[in-house]
């Protein structure tokens, strides 16, 4: 059964969710910034964009994110996993600042602090809503 308190392994999975998503998003952004503007009149150019190096790397990272995310959802609530991994937004901002050279204002630093506090807040609570066993035909996995 799933646990309401996290093991170190589960914390590692959540960290992987938080890190792979922003890294992947940053690679996608870098890749998309270097190809011509895509319009709704030519939607297939989105498919060709997938095969450019930065976007391919971004997709590989997002596959890593997805595998960790699915694992996390199998033992924790969606409403726990999403805020707990929101620290990824802070990582996006830091990547945007130091890699893409986008400016970070005072408001953004305040946002980084609030997200960190919010993540700490939710991480101290139970990760799973205890519910009665679902009545399915399949044998539940134990």
């Amino acid at each position: 059964m799933a646990h309401s308190r996290l093991t170190p392994w589960q914390c590692l999975i959540l960290a992987q969710v938080a890190i792979c998503a922003p890294l992947g998003d940053t690679c996608l952004s870098r890749g998309m910034a270097h190809i011509p503007a895509i319009t709704l009149a030519h939607p297939l150019s989105l498919i060709t964009a997938v095969f450019t190096p930065w976007i391919a790397l971004g997709i590989a990272l997002l596959i890593g994110f997805f595998a960790s995310y699915l694992t996390a959802l199998s033992w924790a609530d969606l409403t726990f996993v999403l805020p707990a991994t929101a620290f990824g937004n802070v990582i996006v901002a830091l990547f945007a600042r130091f890699w893409l050279h986008e400016p970070i204002s005072l408001e953004r630093w305040a946002g980084i602090v609030l997200i960190t506090v919010g993540v700490g807040f939710v991480a101290r609570g139970p990760s799973l809503t205890e519910q009665p066993a679902p009545e399915t035909e399949e044998e539940p996995v134990r």
Partner: protein, 135 residues
Amino acid sequence: MMSVCHPAQPGPWAAAAMIAAIVLSSTAGEVLTAAAMKSIGDLDEIRARRGMAGAIRAVLTCPLFFPGVGFLAVAFFALLFALNHLDLSLVAPASASLTLVTNAIAGKLFLKENVDRRRWTAAVLVCIGVYLLAH
């Protein structure tokens, strides 16, 4: 690689529509995927008992999984489209922030999760934080 000149940034309504497309498709995908994973059980335990192939089979044979992935794929292409027109530092935080709220509501309504005061507080703090990040 050569840098390409993009046209001027889209107006606020166009930007809002791009972000809304990401949020709605992402919420539908995440709720369906979460429901799929809940119905399967702890993946770490399944992997320990049946190996990686057994865990992958358990995921791929779950009927809710593919509709969830379908919506997440729509969200992904909506994200690519938005990133082609808007800054990452706007798109990523704005879509993440709104998705957090819609997921909290959807989690309570459809997944029957216990969204208690602690989780709402965290969601609100993260939401404001993400808004400030996008500011």
